[in-house]
């Protein structure tokens, strides 16, 4: 997996639905996404785009998690 623009530091490969994206880094198979300001009782959606692999450009990857369960 390689950032299309060749730079992970610009954080353009990661998009958050809430909060602030502070830093993105990757070592081996692990990507570390540092964030803050995600409101409690909210659903955080994280999208990855703008990368490719040896096998070609892939569709964006999305995942979402709740920050504290809604009551």
């Amino acid at each position: 997996m390689v950032a299309v623009d060749g730079d992970l530091g610009d954080k353009s490969e990661v998009t958050l639905s809430g909060g602030t994206l502070n830093a993105v880094s990757m070592t081996g198979r692990e990507m570390t996404v540092e964030i803050n300001g995600v409101p409690d009782r909210s659903c955080l959606r994280l999208s990855l785009a703008g990368w490719w692999t040896e096998a070609g450009v892939r569709s964006p990857v999305e995942a979402s998690w709740y920050a504290r369960p809604p009551r």
Partner: protein, 231 residues
């Protein structure tokens, strides 16, 4: 890729993300008049050619297994051919000008342009005058459909070129955790569900601070070695 007693000219070729279990990955010449002009290597590990991913197989211990017949520059044409410009360019964010002089090695960051021929997975072009010849032939796996009369490594459809291997796995997100560092007690991870329908799992105040995403495929930094040595 190992050039042995060849006179091939490799022009604008990119060797990307090859794996080495022994002497390395990339381009090596021996007793060869091969020229590289310019040829780049990105994400390859190791010091010399030992293993290279090819379209229809993975060669293990490829040291001395690849022989390029003289005149590789006489490529067969077609999309994705090794003779095409790989559109492998120096990252403009480097802030420096590419162009190492002959006989020197420069380390720089390179990226592929979106229209790179390496994005083409297949071609109907005839086989190139290139096939693996091994002194350790036992390491080569010949697909059962291939005739013994065919040059080993020559596919029935398509030829060698700047292809991306179809054998590489799709990148998958295999695990995600929300990590908090609790003072001297260290890190506490909470697994995050990958199933969107799963129940929420980050109960700590102020939400997630650090997400660790683990993929099925390792990350290849876009750092490249551009070797313009002319032989």
């Amino acid at each position: 890729m190992y050039l042995y007693y060849g006179q091939a000219t490799l022009t604008n070729c990119a060797f990307v993300a090859n794996y080495s279990t022994g002497a390395g990955a990339g381009l090596v010449t021996s007793s060869s008049g091969a020229r590289r002009s310019p040829t780049a290597s990105s994400g390859s590990t190791g010091a010399a050619a030992a293993r290279i991913r090819l379209p229809d197989r993975q060669l293990r211990n490829a040291h001395r297994q690849l022989l390029l017949r003289p005149g590789l520059d006489r490529h067969a044409g077609g999309v994705g051919n090794i003779g095409d410009d790989p559109l492998f360019v120096r990252n403009p964010s480097d802030g420096a000008t590419a162009g190492a002089s002959a006989g020197t090695t420069t380390t720089a960051t390179f990226i592929f342009k979106p229209a790179r021929p390496a994005s083409t997975a297949a071609t109907t072009a005839p086989c190139l005058p290139m096939w693996p010849i091994s002194r350790q032939r036992r390491h080569l796996r010949t697909p059962p459909h291939r005739s013994r009369r065919q040059p080993p490594g020559c596919r029935q459809r398509g030829g060698y070129g700047a292809y991306e291997s179809p054998f590489l796995p799709e990148p998958r997100l295999v695990r995600a955790v929300s990590r908090r560092t609790h003072g001297t007690l260290g890190d506490f991870d909470i697994d995050l569900p990958l199933d969107p329908s799963a129940t929420p799992v980050e109960p700590r105040r102020n939400g997630p601070k650090k997400l660790i995403l683990v993929f099925s495929e390792r990350w290849w930094p876009s750092m490249a070695i551009w070797a313009t040595s002319q032989k």
